[in-house]
Amino acid sequence: MAEMMFWEAVRRAHDEEMARDPLVIAMGEDIGVAGGTYKATRGLFDKYGPERVIDTPISENSFTGLAVGASFLGVRPIVEIMSVNFAWLAMDQIFNSAAKVHYMSGGQLKAPVVIRSPGGTAHQLGAQHSARMEKVFMGIAGLRVVTPSNPRQAYGLLKSAVRCDDPVFINEHELMYNMKGEVPDGEYFHPLEGSECARQGKDVTLFGYNISVHWCLQAAEILSKQYGIEADVIDLYSLSPLDRVGIQASVSKTHHAVIVEEAEAPVGVGAEVMAIINEECFFELDAAPVRVSARNVPIPYNHTLEKAALPNAKSVVEAVRKMFGK
């Protein structure tokens, strides 16, 4: 196991898959000569050339559509949308073409396209560069949505996504590219479905994904040390489909559930996980499930306001304390 940064893990998955299969290509704004805004494709332009590491014009909807069309004929494009905010512009091709073509062709066409994009709030990027769009993607039938919380997942999920015949959206995070973590030395394919237990506990389940897994883990340590509450932390790296079995198993063990999301609460991951808990294991609950979410505002520029709009480990601790009356 070697330790590497998140961006290095993403880059390594690109490199291995491109070396193996000449039909794997990378596309996006500034990913070639410049090596990618977050370095995820650094050095690949020199190695694989401009035909396979493609600097696109700033035309998100159509370069995404172009990737989808190429995938119909067996090409395996990995599209980088520089910021998830720009993915709104590509929603037509993601939603109407990539996600639906297999179904509406009666199974004849496949769209094995991978779309990676960093979302989340970073450092005072303002309302139009701080979107958290996972809730939008996970509501689209025909599209897989995964969201890595560490370099190992980032590497293994991209490897699996490239090989999978379905379109896969990979939701990354602008603040996580320099995060370090261990990645297997040999090839590793992370399953696209399921969830992972990031910390074992018996008292409460903290559901997180992507960056919020880290808030959950920090909160779990505080809860253990200061309040004697042991949290099970479940990493929902697959947002579509969500792991109903994993959600049920943990809640059946702890009987308490807190869902932590960086996005606003309405129509979000928390709402969906709560619905699954209701459907699968309502009578296992000892307390009403709680969401810890962002405030429902466009993200403000001002540093203090921005921080106030977002949840963190402290807000997770507060939610659990309230649930347990401590």
């Binding site: 014009p57 990737a67 069309g69 119909f72 073409s97 062709s105 996504a161 399953p191």
Partner: protein, 330 residues
Amino acid sequence: MNAADKKRLLREMLFARRFEERCYEAYVERKIGGFLHLYPGQEACAIGVMEAARPGHDYVITGYRDHIHAIKCGSDPKEVMAELYGKETGSSKGRGGSMHIFDAKHHFMGGYALVGGPFPLAAGMAKAIQMKGGDEIAICFLGDAANNQGTFHETMNMASVWKLPVLFVCENNLYGIGTAIERSTAELDQYKRVCGYNMAADHCDGQDIEVVMEHAKKAVDYVRSGKGPYFLELKTYRYRGHSMSDSGAYRTKEEIETWAKRDPINILRDRLIEAGEFAMDDFVSMDKEILDEIENVIIKFAEESPEPKVEELEKYVLTEHCPYAKGEMR
């Protein structure tokens, strides 16, 4: 083109006309649901261009007015009709409908219902062809109104920058749904709109199939030879409204009559008759034969075909078995 080929094309166009008219009837009888966009008036476009290309070999994509494009690529008309009937034997197993005919076997890569949506998909298929080094080309048929979408401009630019082997065929029927082109579009000549993208372009009459073929051949040869993309505008007219829910009342009687005089079927038929290669009686019996086939073979097949199974409602949402999904490949 020899007389036999001309007669074959006449038959194909007449078949297309009768097929679509029969769809109209089936829609009125409520055998066909959803939206239905018919092709009468535009037959020389799809049939003429594809006659100059290689049907079943070249990859074709279009919008929602797609039945005839699929059939010209090699689709079995029985399966197209069965799709309109929503049957399991349909081109898309009843999951697509009129706007989503697919026939991957014949390289007909689909009808799409978002105006302008197929532009980038076509360019993407061309990118794949370019990478794999095949001699196919991608052909994208869309209407004039699609050129007012962002995908038109974005895709023309990329196709030109990367010299992709794609032919864009603009079937300019003068209306975007119910809005006349001069009320929605600053430049009426559509082929001029790609000048800004440094792309080869041409335009011609879309009602005379021989004219269409002549221009299409030049376009197809250009693209196939690796010179890059090409834009061909065909001036045409649809006789019916945009879809079945549109009566077409926004058009004058005079306009419709003027275009009816330039009917693509009549143009070719009369030319054959004038040349002494065909008689009106031949046309009448050709028509009868077609109507007979549509009724007794095609409609019969669609009527008698089974419905899709409700238990298979969720089939095709994702691929049936993905070893990378459940951790089999760790």
